[in-house]
């Protein structure tokens, strides 16, 4: 299974959205699920060597990229 990581910017933006404990757990649980099935989210049109996708968890949008070994949560935005 892929490992998954958050960028410092993703963590900063997430903190600004003041997630509850339950929301924080849900985000992390969905990130873990995405690490297993990364193509679940929809493709974002962004000029980047690796494809970016977005997956929404409640009021949060996770923007991520992945390869065979890891999945990175690039940024978290309000959905």
């Amino acid at each position: 299974m892929r490992s998954y990581w958050y960028s410092p910017t993703a963590v900063k933006r997430l903190a600004e959205l003041h997630p509850t404990d339950e929301e924080l757990e849900a985000i992390d649980s969905e990130a873990k699920m995405l690490a297993k099935t990364p193509k679940t989210g929809f493709l974002l049109p962004f000029d980047n060597p690796r494809e970016l996708r977005r997956y929404d968890v409640g009021r949060f949008g996770l923007i991520y990229r992945f390869d065979d070994k890891r999945l990175d949560i690039v940024v978290v935005i309000g959905a």
């Binding site: 990581w5 992390d28 929809f42 690039v74």
Partner: protein, 175 residues
Amino acid sequence: MAEELTSISKARASLTRLSRAAKRRMHRYIITHEGLPQSVLVGFDEYLSMKAAVDLMQHPEIVADIQAGLHELDEGKGISPAEMKQRVRQMERQEETARLATEISAASGVDPGTVEAVMDSLAERILSQVESRGRASIPGVGEVVRYLPGSSGRLKVPEATEGAPETALKTETES
């Protein structure tokens, strides 16, 4: 990804096939009525991508965040899930501290830096007491017991009794 003109009558007759092709092969069907384009049939994922593209164009700050996040990750600054949770709470505390310090500073005339330093020192003392003894005494409030797993985590203040200013606070599951 193909784009195809199809009349509304033909589209009606083979909507299931067109819809499937739009989803699976990202085909786009421009539906015409009396020879003129009227609507477009696209797959749902592609529709979401298009919507996201418009969103991104309207929010340059998100584009900047994406670029910053990619750069940080390329530099090996990825944060593990466990650390993520700690950092989120730490940042929230810092934000709250700064906000309170600004409020107290405005009300008291003391500079925000001094207020923040006093608050930090008090918070450290309280956390250290909770860590070592499972309870802490907050000046002006009373004694607070350690958060109990399984409780809502919200502390409840019992009715104050006269002559007993130092009242123990209890979590909701205890009461």
